[in-house]
């Protein structure tokens, strides 16, 4: 019995270490390679540590030759507008649909529900023509309107959360003469804060990591985002893996920092966001 228990513990930690190794090793190899010189990269193994940990030459080249500054700038602009826009749109729709029942309100809710069933990647063929005809192709607005108009998950997260904001709060504010606009701005929006954090995180991760929207709709070099600038690395840097890996690290670092500081919120955000 005792040996059986010990064996279980050994197996438990062995599998955990194995799982962690699988998760870490691909990233570790990128990290090591990004500090190596060209000849060093060619002559050492993938998991050999670099000779000089302070060799930032690859980072400098990736950042300047790979045009990553433009990528960061565009990503940040799109990210901020999309995240704030989604929060506003989602909370406004949720407020109206939760607090008022009116003719057609069921159908509107149904329309938002139905839209989440459509996987965006399947409809690109036709979406492209619409973006093109609206004159949004190769403008930053292409990504923004698509992020605001197609990913409706925020409506649900807010709708669910609205259940916990008592209607009696609205009513007492109305006795004080508050308008519905004031109720939305001063009562509902502040109380939605935990749900807003969830939406910020889910939307932020999606926008930062999205590839095909900027790739299809904003091919212009000035409009590249982190994903698309990194995608272009394969060509010009060809076999210069030490530079490519530095570019990958540059894209990963913001994610790592966000993860370290927001861990708790990220876990909660994903768990709340997925339970529909």
């Amino acid at each position: 019995m005792e040996t059986k228990k010990n064996l279980a513990i050994v197996v438990k930690y062995l599998t955990l270490i194995l799982g962690a190794a699988f998760a870490i090793i691909p990233i570790l190899a990128i990290f090591f390679a990004s500090f190596k010189t060209g000849t060093e990269y060619g002559s050492t193994g993938a998991l050999t540590m670099p000779e000089n940990w302070l060799n930032f030459e690859n980072y400098r080249r990736a950042f300047s030759e790979g045009n990553m500054m433009v990528g960061f700038k565009n990503t940040v602009i799109i990210l901020i507008i999309s995240v704030i826009g989604t929060t506003l749109i989602g909370s406004m729709v949720a407020f109206v649909l939760h607090r008022f029942t009116f003719k057609g309100s069921k159908y509107i809710l149904g329309a938002f529900l139905l839209a989440t069933l459509i996987p965006a990647v399947t409809t690109q063929v036709a979406t492209f023509q619409i973006i093109h005809r609206l004159g949004l192709f190769n403008t930053i607005f292409a990504a923004i309107v698509l992020y605001l108009g197609t990913d409706i998950i925020a409506v649900y997260i807010f709708l669910q959360f609205m259940d916990s904001i008592s209607v009696s709060l609205d009513e007492s504010a109305m006795l004080d003469g508050a308008s519905y606009l004031t109720i939305y701005r001063k009562i509902v929006l502040p109380l939605l804060k935990p749900a807003i954090v969830t939406v910020f995180i889910i939307k932020g991760v999606n926008v930062y990591n999205d590839f095909y929207t900027p790739f299809l709709y904003m091919p212009k070099t000035d409009l590249q985002v982190i994903s698309t600038s990194l995608f272009k690395f394969q060509g010009p840097f060809g076999a210069e893996w030490q530079v490519i890996t530095a570019g990958v690290m540059i894209a990963i670092i913001p994610t790592l920092i966000a993860f370290i500081f927001l861990q708790k919120y990220i876990y909660n955000g994903l768990t709340n966001g997925s339970v529909k």
């Binding site: 998760a23 459509i118 690109q124 308008s179 990194l230 394969q234 893996w241 993860f259």
Partner: protein, 301 residues
């Protein structure tokens, strides 16, 4: 100044009756979201159906061709056979959920360095898809990360052309997909398991249940719905696999998935009509799968 404006607007708006306010708010708050929803979520679907019955190439005149595009998809192996590639991602989905469930169960009980393991297993999910693609191009290269590891643990004879061998390429790529998405399922399962009250485990221990019994009789039944939801999500995800193979191989060497084929048909070869028909077929399949999920759901309750 802004304060003054605020006061003025509040005064004027709150002077209107609540009934009128209500109507104004409903229209004002829904106008923009509904327009965006209609234009970018529903109009594309309607247009796509329409295009799928034409031979449109994006600029010339549209000709109605009836079901020709659909006939091409189902009769020309070049188009439909790529669904075979989806099967690799489909099976990988089960591996992914299995691993996620295993680690979620283990980490729900007492473990040293719990937060470290949780963070490490989850972190890949947050990474940029292109970064992952490039990372794994390096991983699978000859003498790359994987080969180095195999040599280090004495399995050097097993090194392969991971992306060069057409028999292996889809397994390698599906593996990347597991690496990328496992953390998501893991964290969701972990959340679901942690909401099971502790007293239930304690009571079962008094009755002599071991960990395996607890897993089968307590954990699994309580998270059944979450597991089936994740399963269906992962299945529809596997059908529409696109990013990883597109970034890593561009669909070369037999790794083109149905979505890559659709995007190429429509955008590279300008066959918007045919591409739309392919998208309709995929949409149909995904909707059917999701429908099955909903049924599952209502029966599970």
């Amino acid at each position: 100044m802004s304060k003054l404006k605020e006061i003025i607007s509040k005064m004027s708006f709150s002077n209107i009756s609540y009934k009128a306010q209500r109507n104004i708010i409903i229209i004002a708050f829904l106008a923009v979201p509904m327009t965006l929803l209609a234009t970018f979520a529903f109009l594309p679907v309607i247009n796509m159906f329409w295009y799928s019955f034409t031979d449109w190439n994006g600029y010339s005149k549209m000709n109605f061709v009836g079901l020709d595009n659909y006939k091409t998809i189902f009769s020309n192996p070049e188009y439909f056979s790529v669904f075979r590639v989806s099967l690799y991602y489909f099976f990988a989905t089960f591996v992914q959920l299995g691993i996620a469930l295993y680690f979620a169960t283990i980490l729900s009980f007492e473990v040293k360095f719990k937060n470290f393991f949780k963070g490490v297993l989850f972190f890949p999910y947050l990474l940029n898809g292109v970064a992952i693609g490039l990372m794994f191009l390096l991983f699978f290269r000859a003498d790359g990360t994987l080969d180095t590891v195999l040599h280090a643990i004495g399995l050097g004879d097993y090194t392969q052309m991971w992306l060069g061998n057409p028999k292996l390429i889809n397994i390698s790529l599906a593996g990347v997909s597991v690496w990328r998405y496992m953390g998501f399922n893991f964290i969701i399962f972990l959340g679901a398991i942690s909401s099971i009250p502790n007293e239930i485990y304690e009571a079962s221990e008094i009755d002599g249940a071991n960990r395996w019994h607890q897993f089968i009789y307590i954990i699994l039944p309580s998270i059944k719905i979450i597991v089936s939801l994740n399963l269906i999500l992962a299945v529809s995800g596997s059908l529409s696999a696109f990013e990883i193979p597109f970034i890593m191989t561009g669909g070369a060497n037999g790794s083109a998935t149905f979505v890559i084929q659709t995007v190429n048909t429509a955008f590279r070869y300008g066959k918007i009509g045919l591409g739309s028909a392919m998208a309709v077929v995929l949409l149909f399949i995904v909707v059917v799968v999701t429908g099955i999920q909903r049924k599952f759901f209502s029966e599970g309750d």
